[in-house]
Symmetry: C2
Subunit: 187 residues, 2 copies
């Protein structure tokens, strides 16, 4: 049974520091969606802020503009086919949770769902920056809750050895991904 | 002999799409600097734009504010110790090219140097967005030249098999890095 632990907000930037592809979830007026985003990264440590690019044409954009909230879910290698699927379809055409068989889970602090089986979660409130949103499709979110899978995240760091199926995904293009590789330390 | 090839600007986002840590180089009024940044990513495809966070206290910030230019250099596993060194020291305290023994190379379209031995280069002109720069230390750069190492980048994609020392670095914290791992494709 996977154990999901709370992550100290002051260190939650570490969930994204190494550049994984994420799933963005959102909800508004009873609708929900999940999309893939390779363009997400930390912006600040404390209070923690994240950046993500959300195109104007996406259904998620409608939900995030309406709710002022989103969750960055960190998927893993076991979910690669589903990540590609929700990255290729549009929520404008139907429920992507249903088509991908990704399972929504209740979040801690917002109506947007988390995605079951992901290894990390960053629940974010949009910091309204209208110019960035309109001109660049760029959203800043302040993280108000963070969690990670205890199998691969402990003592403030990812540790993937022995858990290859839970390694983070790093999207290339055309259905190709890298999974994250070896960890090493420079003394 | 390493062969550096030009990368099609419309696809240069692929150099950063998988989330590597970068070296940011800059120059102004005869001074130059190199710093490490884990927080850099693509913002747009065409014309290509990149985001990078440059703290107000860095010497690089002074050079970038002065010149309106920076280069995102993509270092590799062979350079990890040097990346950590230039990420730990400040250019306010002396020439980091000298202390790290990283070698500056002339760039294609700007005075800022490239870093020898890196596997990718994105030469960027700052798109002035004063509010983002002042409030969030966030810089948007339009890419005006892009190059990559032909050993590991061809046909618009990274290919690291057989070149472990040229795999991208993905910083964790405390001197620890991941190198990028296996590539796989979902059909």
């Amino acid at each position: 049974m996977t154990k999901i632990i709370d992550v100290d907000l002051a260190k939650c930037y570490r969930l994204l520091n190494h550049g994984p592809t994420v799933l963005v979830t959102s909800a508004f007026e009873g609708k929900q969606n999940v999309m893939a985003a390779a363009w997400a990264m930390p912006l600040d440590f404390d209070p923690p802020k994240m950046l993500v690019v959300i195109d104007k044409n996406t259904y998620s954009r409608h939900l995030i503009d309406g709710s002022g909230e989103f969750i960055l879910n960190i998927p893993c290698r076991a979910q690669a086919a589903q990540v590609l699927k929700v990255g290729s379809e549009s929520g404008n055409d139907g429920d992507k949770f249903a088509s991908s068989q990704l399972q929504p889970l209740a979040a801690q602090k917002m109506a947007a769902p988390r995605v079951a089986g992901c290894i990390g979660y960053l629940e974010c409130k949009v910091i309204q920056e209208t110019h960035n949103q309109q001109k660049y499709d760029l959203f800043i979110g302040e993280v108000i809750a963070a969690q990670a899978d205890a199998d691969v995240y402990s003592e403030g760091r990812w540790h993937f050895d022995g858990h290859d199926e839970k390694r983070t995904l790093h999207y290339i293009s055309g259905g190709a991904f890298f999974s994250i590789g070896d960890q090493f330390t420079i003394d």
